[in-house]
């Protein structure tokens, strides 16, 4: 069990460029979650999928952020026209079901310059 795998570990983009972050959940886990971590806001919920279907995207900034889960083995978080305030660690987590704990990935540290 390799755990939740996130790639890349670090990404630097210029302001206005696009960033795509990848997450491979633990095999067999039905739910995948995306969180953004900053010193000021802590762990902010962005969105989650259950059995690949988008369930709740209430934390996603609507205009530039999007997430997909095209198959059960990976999910992507895309940020268009990145801004310096998007700089953060983006964490992906998966869980087996509603009664199971989260397993977090190592995160992608995004820096927008």
């Amino acid at each position: 069990n390799a755990g939740v795998i996130q790639t890349p570990r670090h990404k630097v983009t210029g302001k206005g460029q696009e960033a795509t972050l990848w997450c491979e959940p633990i095999s067999g886990h039905s739910a995948v979650f995306w969180y953004r971590q900053t010193i000021v806001q802590g762990l902010e919920f962005l969105t989650y999928f259950r059995n690949q279907a988008p369930i709740d995207d209430s934390g996603m900034p609507k205009e530039r952020f999007s997430a997909q889960m095209p198959n059960q083995s990976h999910s992507t978080l895309k940020i268009q026209s990145t801004q310096p305030q998007d700089s953060a660690v983006y964490l992906c987590a998966s869980s087996l079901d509603a009664h199971s704990d989260y397993t977090f990935g190592s995160g992608t540290r995004l820096l927008v310059i």
Binding site: Q41, H99, G105
Partner: protein
């Protein structure tokens, strides 16, 4: 919506002293699940302990917490801090046992000095 409040952003104390990190929550649900996650430097958050039973002490790795629904609190405690306890601690909430989504507080940095 559901929310979690951690009042201290940073707690600094000397090794051997007791630890108490505050956590209160708000939810419309009567049977919430409360969690404490710990994140050490350059690591991802991992579960420390959890509870959904009112007034029952939960313990793990020397830490303990008791869910008090009457005061909507779930404070984390340890009798004697160790240097290795230095980390970021998140209190978190699921509104009910069938919910998937977890709401986290802003976190408390615990810095233990020698």
């Amino acid at each position: 919506g559901d929310s979690v409040t951690q009042t201290e952003g940073l707690v600094t104390l000397t090794e051997g002293l007791p630890v108490m990190l505050n956590c209160t929550y708000q939810t419309i649900y009567s049977n919430p699940f409360l969690f404490w996650y710990v994140q050490h430097l350059n690591e991802s958050p991992r579960l420390l302990l959890k509870s959904f039973t009112d007034n029952k002490r939960t313990e793990h790795q020397g830490f303990h917490a008791t869910l008090h629904k009457s005061s909507s609190s779930f404070h984390l405690q340890k009798s004697s801090a160790q240097l290795s306890d230095s980390a970021l601690y998140y209190c978190a909430l699921k509104g009910n046992t069938n919910a998937y989504k977890v709401i986290f507080g802003k976190g408390t940095h615990l810095h233990v000095l020698p």
